[in-house]
Symmetry: D2
Subunit: 438 residues, 4 copies
């Protein structure tokens, strides 16, 4: 039996397992950096399959983690994971939110290193409890307050485990090595950097990633040449001034509210860049306390974007200077925290073409789309950028899935058939690279 | 026995009653427009004393009420009042938050109408639960969440009832009439306008008001010529735009966050007024939702002030125009609500002098201060302004009281001895006017 | 002799005439809408060659003229033209600055209408008087104060006349018709709209235009597929407030200076457009009078741009609303004048390809560039847009020319050899279309 | 003959001389720091009268001069003065614009030092040439382009010389010493600081100053208790950025225009001061060049004021920080120059009372006004402040004068009778102090 056929049979045989795992993850969603239960399950499963599994400080560089919750939140999540059956040994390794996993299987001494990345985190969304919402109706909706898999990462993780199992099954027929990256905190583009800067993909020759749904909201459709990842940076700026009674002694205040307002306006006036799209948004501004008090506190949440990392760096530098100038303008302090970021970029054209050929030859997709302009941000771009900088190739697929509602919506759900399409194309693509088709 | 002496005796005899009532009010604090229990008790008590008592639509003009809570909050407060023993008949008359009371006693057909105003509402403060805090230690601290008498209005109400009782007692010796105003919602300067515009003080010849503490933080001290009430207006501006994804289609948004930021800056740039002090403060700005969404909602809480009502009107007109222009600037809607206001002004000099003479002749005050520049806002000013405009005289006293902490602080408490000083000077002053001393 | 060879010979024979005319125009530069002498010379010459010549109200729609000088300036320029030898009849027809010319020659009743556009106006620049500046050294520098051909339109006009003469010479070999457009006021993109809206190119099938130099600063180079014309609009906004003494009565002023400053900031904060490049620039802001007077006057000169006309319309609408909002913000008046504009667009690909083929086959160009992204604005785009909207094709060439200094610089000069290249490629292209090569 | 009567006779006898001198100064107006001809005449005249005269570096501290014209302008003015008959020796001493004069006469070894200050400079105004304008009609209007005595300093100087002459005449009857200060550059409040910081009034016990007209626009009226001098500071801020093409590469610019606009808005948003009037005005903003160029230059002319010097210092510090923050906001440079300043303050009450008594007892004034709230700025305040700080007394009078038009108007002229009133009251007041009346 030809290897592609074997894969078809193996995927079919795992149908129930994939769906059950997806539903289990769905029921126990964990937001960014708190994926203790999910990651422990992944680690344990891969370990049993024979993978060499690293996590905690071996997989994640602490200084490069962005947007990490408070120690209290991490601790509580860790305890909850244990309560919910996570293997203590793994969970303890992940202390501090270092829930990323790198799992390697070596098939031969020579041959390429093929990387695959799956993201595991859930959203800060409360899942809807309506009879028409399938996860609720079928009893697998979120059991965690204010957390929901509303973006499909539950499916990504389930698919990743299936790919891992099939590759292990086929190991005698493969060359080179496979490296599976299970990434925390993709939401808010917070997690990839800490794995990339840990060197996790420095030895990768081909890097693959995928997302269910998004711009392909129909099962059976696929796009293999994703371009136009917008580079982005996320910042929180905390302004601190001095309060004063606005009637009795306004001159004694130092006005953080006005500093933030001034910053917001001038941030939006950052000059356009002639080399391509640039973006700035102050999405949140909360300032002041009482009506009759000079506002002494302000928080501003903003993001920059650029068609390229270079344009984003330009936006970022402008933004940081403006925040400082706004603080100086009102004689207040500003504390700026980077809470997220992603690189710009596009799929490596040759690898994209290879994926497209595989998708077409598989014969299971109704529609294989050529180029898909992403126009948004995903921190897979960090892996992509690093691998491409090192001379490797990287590509990201959008795998069609019928959706019940848009991503991040409390009514989000997807057609679970799409999980099988994802498992098939990812395994086939990886195997092709591991048997030297390119 | 001379009448002043009688008053001294009567006040002394009421010492326990005054303190107990103050403590009862303290334990059951009711914030602006929800003073159902307090007001019902006042109404019932005055009615029993023989006063002609009006409340509800007879005392408060609904269209002039500012900063009224939602119907749900009012309803819940009304029910709580009943639970806590308020007389149902009075509480029902006050439906909608119309908790103001006007109580008149006619001593003779001719003679002056003497008005006294007492405010009844509590603050949006959670009372401290520390062993050193007397109300907590002595078991009369607030039983209501997020409500506390942290400004002394519990004392004002208790004093008002004492004055009422003594005047009723002395009624055969008095001429003219007395009109007692128990006002809701002084905090946020929300309540006086609705009583003034109802005509409640249109027939008043002499209008008296008082505050415990404030600039006289020592029991035994008093200031009788209070000047420099700052006129003020309070506004909430709600901006509504259209959200849009900040990366994918920013041009489709209509940015309420920037409209609010723009408004804040330009409001603070309103020109100074050459005729006297003017003030503007945007004390609160809350805008936007997610970092990557064009902010479609914003709330701005602001206030204007002026050394005179005229200057405040100038500030107000500028502010309202600027809010509309900021909305136009970003093509968003703005809904502006007036939530409070007070007039400017100063005590009538002759009446202030009369009060000062009475305070000095009483012999109980250690220190009778001349002029006290208020430099803040109190909506007693509306009563004062109306009476003065009609050719009458009005004056406000600051009656010293030792304080445990500043007004509006969760540790606030005052020396209850001050209640007796207040009852004495207010009764004596009113009686003097009612026996024709001026 | 083959027609292309004839053209080569004819162009060579006109070398001196072309250079002399260029130098004569250079010496008598006329800025936008004052090209009376230049246009009268063009009209007279074309008329003598047998063209049917229209000018004044027959060629230019007055209501669509933008950025027209004052009546005094126009009158003085008209008189100067007469003094400098212009034919009175033509000059009088052009009264009011309607100096555009449309000249048609009909070769056969059927066949295409081929349009060619040349611009005639000079810049508001004072020409340099240095020994190294060839026009000055050779005695043909500007004789008009504050006017100079610093963009090469003198060459364009001279080339246009040569093309006209050769086409007339070859008229028996041609089919269809040719329509020559000599356009005023290209600088500031002010003139094209008035000719397009007059319907001057409504019957044109192929529209050609060209510029010397610009992004092709080497003689012998050419680009035939110019893309990325930025649509643009130019506005002047005049704010009028009320002055007041800044110390004695600032509240009596209405501050036009702050209105303009506020407008400038908010204009630059217009949201990016996701469909392509957008631009905004306030290039000039002049406001106020004395330091101690509330500024009652302000002038703001701005422009918007867009990768497409649609994006530019978005920018324009935002800008106009913001200007009005800024006026409302400071209670001042604003008077907004549109002073220029151009459409967005790109060459018709087939026509561009045709031109490229002709350029290559001519054998005189060292370098035929493929696509050239313009990234700036030129009001030839209005002609292009109209012809393309009507189902015709339009294209613009950049014809290389060695430059002494950049465009609009007082040291600007170009290699006159380039005039011959321009005459050759324009005539050959037009003739090809007129003999039915497409 | 009593000394006051002598003074009356002497003043009357000088009537023609005073008027002629005033007209001569009027015809030869010299703006701030260029008063070479005027000052040389003053120096020569006082020297001849026996005064010890200092000028140049002996009278003016160069580092404290504000708003000094360029070297070219100073040089040209110096030469013009010589051409117009100024004594070369004096003019040369004044090189660099150091035109201030300090002239002392010592009457006795003991006794007070009485200072009188007169200002000499003209305005940057072109005098009107209408038949109804008396200076023009009578042939003594300004012979200097763009310079005019439109504020009455010509009269002040003429009066100062008369006072000097009479005091010299009466020297045997006087005790103590007199010190006459003839100050340059009062317009723009630029000159006083350089004399005060030179120590010119450090030994003065009583300091007198006066202005014709202003708030007393009727001959025969006088105000002796002038209060409410607003402290003020004048600044010019020059922003320098980097130009760039607004279409092709806006991100390469550094936008000085926006920096200035941002500064203007935020300057006007400086918080009010609770201790008294504060003012800010950006009276002039000129920025940018071409419409399509990122503006790389901007000039902002501003002033701050305060009811007291302390409030003005607060405004100044805020303003300076804001200017720097605006530069940082747009990554441009800012160069800030202080061009003027005055102190706040009020007349010494006792000295004001003395002056009022003298004015009343003289019997020549129709109306002696009590307190006059100035509400504007005059740099006499620097002298006043220094003398008061040293324990002395200082006062400023407004001496009524009928006016043809407001101060600084090109139609300004005053009733020359007022010169005699001024000479009388100033001499009498000084003499009174010098004979020990206080």
């Amino acid at each position: 039996m030809e290897i592609k056929q074997k894969i078809a049979v193996l995927v079919d045989g795992m149908r129930n397992k994939i769906v059950e795992r997806r539903r289990d993850f769905h029921q126990h969603p964990e937001t960014g950096w708190t994926e203790f239960r999910t990651a422990a399950f992944v680690a344990e499963t891969l370990s049993v399959l024979g993978y060499d599994v690293k996590t905690g400080t071996d997989a994640v560089k602490e200084s490069a983690m962005m947007g990490v919750p408070t120690a209290e939140i991490l601790k509580a999540a860790q305890e909850r994971a244990l309560t919910e059956g996570a293997v203590r040994g793994w969970v303890e390794k992940m202390t501090g939110g270092r829930t990323g996993i790198v799992a390697v299987m070596r098939f031969s001494d020579t041959g390429p290193m093929v990387g695959l990345r799956f993201d595991m985190d859930a959203n800060d969304v409360s899942e809807c409890h309506e009879a028409t919402h399938r996860p609720y109706k079928d009893g697998f909706s979120s059991e965690h307050a204010n957390a929901m898999h509303a973006c499909g990462h539950d499916g990504h993780t389930a698919v990743g485990l299936a790919v891992a199992e099939i590759l292990a099954e086929l190991k005698d027929e493969l060359h080179g090595s496979v490296k599976l990256i299970f990434q925390p905190a993709e939401e808010g583009v917070r997690g990839a950097r800490a794995m990339v800067e840990n060197g996790d993909v420095d030895d990768v020759d081909y890097m693959l990633g995928a997302h269910l749904g998004f711009k392909m909201q129909k099962t059976g459709r696929i796009a293999c040449n994703v371009t136009g990842f917008l580079a982005t940076s996320k910042y929180d700026a905390y302004f601190t001034g001095v309060p004063a009674h606005a009637g009795a002694a306004p001159e004694k205040g130092r006005n953080a509210l006005l500093a933030a307002a001034c910053a917001a306006l001038n941030l939006h006036a950052i000059s356009r860049h002639s080399a391509g799209a640039s973006r700035i948004n102050v999405g949140r501004l909360d300032a002041g306390s009482g009506r009759n008090v000079i506002g002494d506190k302000a928080l501003l949440r903003l993001e920059t974007r650029g068609a390229t990392s270079k344009i984003n760096v330009y936006m970022e530098e402008e933004a940081l200077r403006i925040l400082k100038a706004a603080a100086l303008m009102y004689d207040v302090e500003v504390d700026i925290k980077k809470t997220g970021g992603a690189a710009g970029g596009s799929n490596s054209p040759e690898l994209a073409q290879y994926l497209q050929d595989e998708a077409e030859s598989l014969g299971i997709f109704d529609e294989v789309i050529g180029t898909c302009d992403f126009g948004a941000s995903e921190d897979f771009s960090y892996f992509m950028e690093r691998v491409q900088q090192n001379g490797g190739e990287a590509a990201y697929m959008m795998i069609g899935a019928g959706l019940a509602a848009g991503h991040h919506d409390s009514h989000f759900d997807f057609d679970e058939e799409a999980l099988l399409y994802a498992a098939r194309i990812l395994t086939v693509s990886a195997v092709g690279l591991l048997v030297g088709k390119r």
